[in-house]
Symmetry: C2
Subunit: 528 residues, 2 copies
């Protein structure tokens, strides 16, 4: 059987609508005629040789029917199964009737296989008609004979076989009119196919209909890879003796002066949503847990509508006591990233390549051990290309990106650590550099020129912390509880916080953080 590529790819929106309507009509008609799969046996219709082999299944309510049926998964289907009868549960990706035939493509996650219904002594006209009227995205149970095809089917992931359908049951019927087409939502962003219309789906439509959008192969792969980042983060730290903790999101006082914090009605009073677990990680250190990490929601009431800000994101946070030098912690974090990058490279090649098909990007490169630059070295590199950054000045986002390009050109790495930030641009609790009053024991880490971690040695001495807070003009009474955490002995410690969605976005070279948050939250979006 030859590759039967559905032609909607190039169809206009109007044509799509028309087709959907037609399909709806046909499905209704067929459904009406068959009136429920379970009862098919009772319908007397002499001509239908397929009676009892197709239809709409009654709602699966766990009545123990068919529970011994064995299903294969689509990715397992290949020519080694030729001639065998198999059951598959998958979505109807596309279907097209052509005379006495109906070609369908079944989709399961990112895998697709072609199936065919041919009017024959076991497949009735009614069955083909019913099949061709089922709305796309419906879930089907298919019994079929696997057969090898002479020419590879380029449009499916399972290229060497097709399924000759013998039973077809609708498990869950989709509405016939889809707010977006999976094929449109899956189309490469930078394709140069000038012939086709190349319908694409804009971001709001995607996010408004996230349950459909998430079915694209790229999205399936993005969120599996994101789960992989969390797993690698935890495994790497657990191996090093870190303990996972859970920190409260509801807090009594806005931690850093009250800006950008969401207020919660808490019984008869108010509380706030934590902007970071930092205080609690530090308390865990003061409580002798020594090395801790936590993964959880972090909230920022910042009215930033950019490609890289979310109001709620997943924080990967860690904090670690050290003996004499915070570089022990900084390098632990650096090596953690190396392990994550290696883990992704070694275990997620398939996902990365699926994602690249839709969102092409340069492969992510990194050094082992990671590159560490001092802030002043970074300033020097920037000065060499004519960009002056003051000794006590922070890097702007464009300057960060420029430095990322310079670092990439010079060292061939997409990841690096920038150490010893100016004291003036860091929070009051950052430990000053003992050797340079303008510098501090703090660092940022970058992926493709964008900051993904900010960290530092924290001041663990309550008197010095008070002094620094006063220097920053902070009302000491508002941070008394924080300062008191260090009153009963606390080891020197450092740490940092990582934004999960940013790490995944930048690793994959994606252009928007909403692509790596399953249900993103920004100032304008709290649904779905």
């Amino acid at each position: 059987m030859v590759d039967d590529k559905p032609n909607e790819n190039a169809a206009s929106k109007a044509a799509l609508k028309k087709e959907a309507k037609k399909a709806e009509k046909a499905a209704k008609k067929a459904e009406h005629k068959q009136a429920g799969g379970e009862n098919l046996q009772n319908v007397k219709e002499e001509v239908d040789v397929s009676l009892g082999k197709y239809g709409k299944l009654p709602l699966i309510q766990s009545n123990a029917k068919n529970s011994d049926r064995k299903f294969l998964i689509v990715s397992e289907l290949n020519k080694s199964l030729s001639g065998q009868n198999v059951w598959v549960r998958a979505r109807l990706h596309t279907s097209r009737a052509r005379g006495k035939q109906c070609f369908i493509v079944l989709r399961q996650k990112e895998f697709t296989v072609q199936a065919i219904l041919n009017v024959s002594d076991v497949v009735s006209k009614s069955m083909v008609k019913f099949s061709s009227g089922i709305p796309k995205e419906s879930i089907l149970d298919i019994e079929a004979k696997v057969s090898e095809v002479p020419n590879n089917i380029a449009s499916c992931t399972q290229q060497d076989v097709e399924l000759a359908v013998t039973q077809l049951w609708v498990v869950s019927m989709s509405a016939p009119q889809l707010p977006l087409q999976i094929d449109d939502a899956s189309r490469p962003e930078k394709a140069e196919d000038e012939e086709a219309l190349n319908i694409r789906v804009n971001q709001d439509t995607r996010l408004d209909n996230r349950i459909l959008d998430l079915r694209t192969p790229a999205n399936q792969a993005i969120f599996r890879l994101e789960a992989g980042v969390c797993r690698l983060f935890r495994e790497s730290l657990t191996k090093r003796g870190f303990v996972e903790i859970h920190t409260p999101k509801i807090i009594s006082a806005a931690s850093e002066g009250g800006a950008n914090v969401f207020t919660v009605s808490y019984f008869k009073g108010n509380a706030y949503l934590a902007q970071s677990p930092q205080l609690y990680k530090q308390m865990a250190i003061a409580s002798d847990f020594e090395k801790v990490f936590t993964i959880g929601a972090v909230f920022r009431a910042e009215d930033s509508n950019t490609h890289r800000h979310l109001t709620e994101f997943t924080g990967l946070d860690l904090e670690m006591a050290f003996k004499y030098h915070y570089h022990d912690v900084m390098l632990t974090i650096g090596n953690l990233f190396t392990e994550i990058f290696k883990g992704l490279r070694d275990n997620f090649q398939r996902e990365i390549s699926i994602i690249n098909q839709q969102y092409p990007s340069e492969p992510f490169v990194f050094l082992d051990p990671p590159l560490v630059l001092e802030y002043n070295e970074g300033r020097k590199m920037l000065a060499e290309v004519g960009v002056e950054v003051g000794e006590e000045e922070d890097l702007s986002t464009p300057t960060e990106k420029l430095l990322g390009r310079l670092v990439k050109a010079k060292y061939d790495t997409d990841f690096y650590i920038l150490d010893k930030y100016p004291l003036a641009v860091r929070p009051f609790y950052t430990m000053p550099d003992p050797n340079n009053p303008k510098s501090s024991n703090s660092y940022d880490m970058f992926m493709r020129g964008e900051e993904i971690l900010s960290g530092a040695q924290r001041i663990h001495d309550p008197d010095f912390l008070t002094e620094r807070a006063k220097h920053h003009g902070i009302d000491i009474s508002t941070i008394a509880a924080y300062i008191d955490s260090f009153k009963y002995g606390c080891p020197p410690h450092a740490g940092g916080g990582i934004g999960l969605e940013r790490v995944v976005m930048l690793y994959l070279g994606l252009d928007n953080i909403r692509k790596t948050s399953m249900f993103p939250r920004d100032p304008k979006r709290v649904t779905p």
Copy 2:
């Protein structure tokens, strides 16, 4: 050297205060005299043979000093190291001066070792005096010679050695007055030592001073075990093909009618804190992720001040598509628990025994595979002991506990699954039992007679879901987005949500959920 048990255990509060004052005075005096460790070399004091061997270290600011020093951990100290010089960083647990000697106990997490300073040709009177004046809980760097003791030191975990101190430096000085004593906070809850005063620390004092309270051996062990539960949960599910997802905590509509939900000010409008990730787990299923789990904060604005309610807790949630019967999912969850229990039994015996020393309890017993009872069987067991529960009535908390005891007596298990709850007592989205109109495809799971998971097959058909919502008197417009999630084809699925803190509390037989939440939140507490 004989066991030198400090005698504060039996001291009254007044005596403790007095002692603390004395210690504070001595420390201040000593500190004043020494005026900073770094400068000790410059102080001319001919008689002090220990000059430069003790004092208060300058703030550790990462100036690269001492960074090649190797430290041993307290748990490694034993007689195989006899005669060796070692460095240890640990807290001053207790200290007691006696003439020309000072006995101290060093503590590191749950491990303790005795150390001694004896006036000699290398240890000066001043050094002993300084040492005996350091407030408890201060962090020290100690250089010492390990020496085997003739009689075991029963009061320390390292019983066969003591440390003869040669250098002693204060890394971080504690305030001399502690709001609670670690020894008091560590005392067994049900000790029958009638002679001693048995000072204990009440829960609010503990929670108000959580950074001290968390330093007790039992608390160190509880939170390591809690981290273990999360790890086992994830490993077991990842192995089975589950994908970790992250669901938003800020949502646009109160999911189940608006009761018990916290309101958040969201820019110019309002939003809510999610009471469970259920809708989002289900959307992930509708998006073909097939098997998902998520660990994250869950919020309940319930004004319940009980031993087992928190306003914020850690939810371990999972959701899974199935082919024909929700028992596939229910048994997957049951086996997940078995794996967690086995993992705790096999890898956390040391933690469990430390916790049991303070909080004695019967070991947790379980069956493999787990026991599954139907609701009506449970009702029958209750009826046999005279407790009638109606066919469409829920179990009250005392009845649940009673049933737990009956099940334990009959089947010798602390964990079981109760399947097929009455439809009337479950939420609208619960799938009705196809064979009994009063029953449903839902289950609870219990540990030591308390519910730790509630789950069910969910209705995956939008029309039927609408019908059931109407039956429950729910305004359909408020749940339109939820219903629409199932509009474009959704496989049958089931799942459940587990409260992490409850699981740990019940596994360990603890009496209050605040013992298993690092920083608990209840209607009256949002600090620290």
